[in-house]
Amino acid sequence: MLFRITEKIIVPEKLRQTMLSSSAGAYCSYEGWVRDHNEGKDVNSLHYSAYEELAQTIGCKILHEAESKFQVESAIVHRVGDLSVADIAVWVGVTAHHRGDTFLACRYIIDNIKHRLPVWKKEVYSNGEERWIDNNHCGCSDPKNLQF
C-alpha cells in the first residue's frame, strides 16, 4: 500500500515493479494523461495543487477501502505542479489473485480519487486563458455510482 503526492515525473515502470509478486496472478493499472484538449478548448498545460496533509489521510483511506473490499494490493501516485500535454497526472496499480478484483478495485480507486482526494486542477489554454476546473463529475462517475 503506497500513497504518494509528488512533483516529479511519474515513471510507471518503476511503480509497476514495486507491485511484483509471485503469488499474484493479475495486475491492472490505470494512468490519467494530460490531454491536448478539453470541452472543445486546446489545452497547453495543467497545474495541479494539493492539500498534502489531508491528501495523505484520504489517499490511504481510499486504498484501505479498496484492499478490504476487493482483496487486492494497491497503490496511488498523484503528481502536482505544472504538467505538460501527455504527462501522467495520476497512476494507480492493483494486484490480486484474480482479474475481476483488480478491475473493480482499480476503478474504485480512481473514481474515489476524483471525488475525494483534495487535489485541484487548473487548465491553461493555448490562448493564454486559465481556469480552475470546477466540476470533475461527468455522468460516468456520478457519486451515486461509486459503489459497485
Partner: protein, 81 residues
C-alpha cells in the same frame, strides 16, 4: 476571548486571497461566521454549503466549533485525477 486561527487556502481560493495561509484572531467560534468574513474580504464565489471544511487537517462538519490554535481550510470541489 479571541482565538488564533490559521487559515489555509487552496486552488481558486488561494488565487483570490493571493496567499496560501494566514493567521486571524477571531471571536466567533463558528465556521460560518469565519467564512462569511473571508468571503467578503476576498470575494470568494462559493457559498459555504458548496465547500468542504477541514479542521486540523481532518474533514469536519460545517457546525464544528473552532478552538484556539486550530487550522481551518475551506475546500472547493475536488478535481484531481
Amino acid at each position: 476571548m479571541t482565538m488564533k486561527i490559521k487559515i489555509l487556502y487552496f486552488a481558486q481560493l488561494a488565487e483570490l486571497a493571493e496567499k496560501s495561509e494566514e493567521t486571524k484572531h477571531v471571536i466567533d467560534s463558528s465556521l460560518c461566521a469565519l467564512y462569511a468574513d473571508l468571503r467578503k474580504t476576498y470575494n470568494f464565489h462559493q457559498e459555504l454549503t458548496q465547500l468542504q471544511v477541514a479542521v486540523n487537517h481532518q474533514l469536519s462538519a460545517h457546525d464544528t466549533e473552532l478552538r484556539d490554535g486550530d487550522s481551518v481550510a475551506f475546500l472547493p470541489p475536488m478535481t484531481g485525477g
